[in-house]
Symmetry: C2
Subunit: 208 residues, 2 copies
Amino acid sequence: MYVEGRIIDFLDRLASSAPEPGGGSASALAAAIGAALVSMVANLTTGKEKYADVQDRIEDLVGRSEAVRAALQDLVQKDTEVYGVLAGAFKMPRETDEEKEKRNDAIQAACKEATMVPYAIAEQCLTVAELSEVAADIGNVNAVSDAGVAALLADAGAQCAALNVKINLGTIRDSAFNEEKWSGIQDILSRASELKDRVVKVTYEKLG
Amino acid sequence: MYVEGRIIDFLDRLASSAPEPGGGSASALAAAIGAALVSMVANLTTGKEKYADVQDRIEDLVGRSEAVRAALQDLVQKDTEVYGVLAGAFKMPRETDEEKEKRNDAIQAACKEATMVPYAIAEQCLTVAELSEVAADIGNVNAVSDAGVAALLADAGAQCAALNVKINLGTIRDSAFNEEKWSGIQDILSRASELKDRVVKVTYEKLG
């Protein structure tokens, strides 16, 4: 698991020409940093008398932000795994017609799987953006900038994941699948962007 | 050094109520991921016959992206250090007038130093955005989405750093310093945003 390894090793390998990790894992990690910041804002609000009224909502918030952080940490890894399956499909023999057909089917299946990982990253990014709004609205005001950073990283992570969805759609020949996924991604992007704008606005207002 | 430690330990500590790391370190790490992706695009272009014409520029690109990555990795740490100095200043005794004056002077000096770290992060983010444009324009087209992700993380990192500059300006009483830094940050943000828009556009065009 990359997240069990050192930061510098991940960055060095990302910077290299090694086939993985790639942009999908990078997006998931950036969004996981955002999720961790939502948890931080919640944890800095827990048990504070000034925020007594919102303690139940804060407890719920930290539970949800830690769940989405765990999901994103898994997706850092998952993105490298589906890349391996896809690379394997491309390397299949293609001498006979039968081999060609088998290889094409394997590529199509692997490409759909490879699409669903950045799609899931984008979905989790949207959740981080939603949670960052709660953190900015009810969390410890001294940590509001961290809610703003979380929203910015969630929105960027979703846009990064969209690029990684787009790559695969060029190879997939199932146009109904492509249309559904691309329209789903556009919806996620517009909601994440709206949330980000609102959270950044609230953050600057609270910073005064 | 945080970057020498495990990813999961950094994220766990970021998520906790521990005073550091905070949003500044988080922004620097997100931008370092972007810088690593520029290096990846360059490294996937090095030695490729199809890109023979741009090998000199690619060599220059990877040198610059690795330098900015190293700077950002240092800034992950630096942000926690200046936070420590500032927290120390706030804890100074303030019983006598002399103590109060000493404490105020220490807070003002530490706050200016604490401002300059996210300011430096924003400057490095702008450089990552500039380099991502070169990567998108001349780098291996098979890795163009990674140039796009780099641009998105650089732009988000600059916006995150701006929030962390803003926090400190509220405490600093030197209005000339505040105006200069805030106007500098606005300039960085508008340039990073323009670059990001252009790189994302080029990326989608090349992805087809």
